[in-house]
């Protein structure tokens, strides 16, 4: 808890995150540019999928980040409910739109990959359906933050719903092993991916992860400043009254 306690102070968080942000933006840009090189001229087509394999460098990355975002939000939800961590609800609110965007990209790129490989854009199988539910949960959480005026109350409602929805994460992950689905199992973790495809996969994964960190920090900083503005407006109104 040492680091989290240190960063629990919003002023300290603003100071540290301000120093980290240029580094994470730069790492994201470099890794994505290098990943794009390896994704196109730097890697061969797959012997079965052909050129469509190039979607493998953006689809699992988006899906992985959507799930990582949700796991982070679930941890933050615990922080809100149990420890009332000052930054926990800030993280929850800042992360939801990022998760929604990556989930949407996971769905779009998955559909574009599905049509040439499976012959259909969509099937209601366990993996695709549970991932669609994840996207809808992000939208629901964004709606809560947008409609509940009191940030403390919104945080508690969002935290409870996030924790209830967390059951969907293992369902998404293990769906391809438990049920018979069109979606292929995770070949990367089982060492089934050819070595030619690994550099673009990991470079894009790293680039997307640093991009996620950068956007999350940016949005958390904005949320903290937004809360300062809200407090100052209340102080101003009270003083005038």
């Amino acid at each position: 808890m040492g680091i989290t306690n240190t960063l629990a102070n919003p002023t300290r968080f603003m100071s540290y995150s301000g120093k980290i942000l240029p580094v994470t933006w730069a790492l994201a840009l470099v890794m994505i540019l290098a990943g794009l090189y390896y994704a196109f001229p730097g890697s061969p087509p797959d012997y079965q999928m052909g050129e469509v394999v190039r979607l493998m460098y953006i689809h699992p990355q988006a899906a992985w980040l959507a799930m990582l975002t949700y796991v982070l939000m679930a941890i933050a939800a615990l922080g809100t409910i149990i420890w009332r961590h000052p930054l926990a609800d800030v993280l929850q609110k800042a992360a939801a739109p990022i998760g929604a965007c990556f989930a949407l990209l996971g769905l779009i790129t998955g559909m574009l990959w599905g049509q040439p490989t499976w012959g259909t854009y969509w099937v209601w199988d366990a993996r695709l359906t549970s991932f669609l539910i994840l996207f809808i949960m992000f939208l629901g959480l964004i709606a809560i933050w947008a409609t509940v005026d009191d940030p403390g109350r919104a945080a508690r409602i969002a935290a409870i719903l996030t924790l209830v929805g967390a059951v969907n994460i293992p369902i998404i992950y293990f769906s391809v092993q438990i049920w018979s689905t069109l979606h292929q199992p995770q070949g990367l973790l089982q060492g089934q991916t050819d070595e030619h495809f690994l550099p673009p996969m990991f470079l894009m994964l790293g680039g997307y992860t640093f991009l996620f960190i950068s956007i999350l920090l940016l949005r958390m900083r904005t949320e903290i400043l937004g809360r300062r503005v809200r407090t100052m407006q209340l102080t101003s109104v009270t003083a005038e009254a």
């Binding site: 953006i58 990209l105 990959w113 900083r221 300062r228 003083a239």
Partner: protein
């Protein structure tokens, strides 16, 4: 570079990723700018947070010494 018969799917996937990610970044930066502008406006009007006002109140006598 020839992407074959499925070029549309590949380009569509990368284009969608670019549009959504850049859109999210631009939206987040705009939100940040708006909040910073509002904060600067309030500070220019002399509005402070209660905690700032308290710490300023504590610091003032020491400054006189």
């Amino acid at each position: 570079m020839d992407l074959g018969d499925h070029a549309g799917f590949i380009i569509g996937g990368y284009l969608a990723s670019f549009v959504v990610i850049v859109g999210l970044i631009v939206f987040s930066i705009n939100q940040s700018r708006k909040v910073r502008a509002r904060l600067a406006e309030l500070e220019a009007r002399g509005v402070r947070r209660r905690s700032d006002a308290r710490s300023a109140g504590r610091a003032a006598p020491e400054a006189k010494v």
